[in-house]
Symmetry: C2
Subunit: 257 residues, 2 copies
DNA sequence: CACATCAGCTTGTACCAACAAGTTGAGCAG
DNA sequence: CTGCTCAACTTGTTGGTACAAGCTGATGTG
């Protein structure tokens, strides 16, 4: 056991208190000056310890109020059912899922023409900088920012599906709209990654320190070629994804919660 | 545009330099004292700015060496093919995947009996605290810690598949071994989440500040009930997962990269 | 009672100083 | 030339001070 720096010890003790339940989720921690007395340390040292816990996502602080233990209520997203290839539901999946969970959904839309980034171009199989239709969506649950979603469609699709450039939501859902036009999405390729948010993402999703984002990229394919690429950015502390693959009849009989 | 704190400005300028390529991945940043002169700020202020960038995962620092720009080389894991239900490959999937990528895999095994946590118990449909077989695996790529994997099997399985309690690897792969005994995994339920690492995880995976972990839980099912639960913890900066769902014949013809 | 003010708490920012500890390369002893 | 020592760099830790800024409840005024 090598000697650890004092601010590290402060963090360790407080972490044990937090995970042990001494300070339950939502509770307020002692103030910095109280912790100075408790640990016989300078304010800087106590703050370093608290900052460590904040960067682990355990606590958050606000000026004038103090430090409090983060509470996590995760929202589960079933990615393999999200837009079922065989049974597309009516309307958009987000609103129905959230409403079913007894929460209040809210979303804002924005549509624009944007050049394809390298990331998008590679997936849509178009050239970098080519025009694409960008449908951007900012989603809230009970007025808390939840995720952003940016779907880009290749330019050649617009002639077949002109309503894609319409501002605002497409009532019956874009997938269903396109299916009605004979543009059928018969498969998709999902990529999942995580990282810390960029300053822009942190602002949009109101993310504090110590909360990563979950990145979900879904590229949809027709028989011939990719027809859309959706990048969803989730707040990592509020979301979880799942996939159901194969026969899960043994699972569904007594669904936990 | 409200006035931003000075350490924030420091971070903004350096961030622009980093993402803009002034300091390419792997490059060393100017020392703290040089940055003090450049920004006309105290050492603490400069350090606060650098710490902000570190917590975003952009840079890392080491005592005596300085700050350097993080380089990301991600390893892609195909979760839907990882242990294909219809075509199980020989040996374990990790080693073959890594070797195919031209890298050198390495892994250590540990087997023990452990009580089921609430998380595990719920998924294996056993009581909390029930004995389970824990097969733990620590994986490296080119000697860099990559992921940890903990698979737990319910106790009732051991009578049917006694080799599960053997220490060390099971050469032909546990899935194939169990299939040979008539215990067939016909479906699985995947859950994906992200968060900052616990101190233990940070130590095992040698994770610095600003790097989240990607958590992948796979619960495997036979016709009747769950037969295993695997929790994999990835370094978020080095790994990405993907799922192929439906017909993707349009994708595979000219695979990018 | 309604409402504005303010004292007293909280955290946030910015500075200074000093020493510890890790790394590297110059330079000296053998 | 080899190998060791050490000075001079780097970041890490800990202490201090001062003031800014956000929040809350008590207080006093209309």
């Amino acid at each position: 056991m090598t000697k650890q720096p004092k601010y590290h010890q402060v963090a360790d003790v407080l972490r044990r208190d937090v995970v042990g339940g001494t300070y339950p989720p939502g509770a307020r921690l002692p103030s910095e000056s109280e912790l100075q007395e408790r640990f016989v340390a300078s304010r800087n040292t106590v703050r370093a310890g608290l900052k460590l816990l904040a960067s682990e996502g355990l606590i958050s602080s606000s000026q004038g109020l103090g430090y409090e233990v983060r509470k996590h209520e995760v929202f589960e997203l079933n990615a393999s059912r999200f837009e079922n290839l065989t049974f597309p539901q009516n309307g958009d999946a987000f609103s129905t899922d959230v409403t079913n969970a007894g929460r209040r959904p809210h979303q804002t839309f924005r549509v624009e023409l944007a050049p394809a980034s390298e990331y998008i171009a590679q997936r849509l199989k178009v050239a970098v900088g080519d025009t694409s239709v960008l449908r951007f969506c900012h989603r809230f649950v009970d007025d808390v920012p939840w995720s952003t979603q940016a779907t880009q469609y290749p330019e050649w699709l617009v002639t077949k599906a002109p309503r894609l450039t319409e501002p605002g939501d497409i009532a019956e859902g874009t997938t269903r709209y396109m299916t009605g036009l004979g543009i059928e999405q018969i498969g998709y390729y999902d990529e999942i990654a995580t990282r810390m948010p960029t300053p822009d993402e942190a602002r949009l999703l109101e993310i504090g320190a110590g909360v990563p984002v979950l990145l979900w990229t879904r590229t949809g394919y027709s028989q011939e070629r990719p027809i859309r690429c959706t990048v969803t950015t989730f707040r990592g502390d509020l979301n979880r994804m799942n996939y159901e693959i194969g026969d899960l009849s043994a699972r569904t009989e007594s669904e936990p919660q």
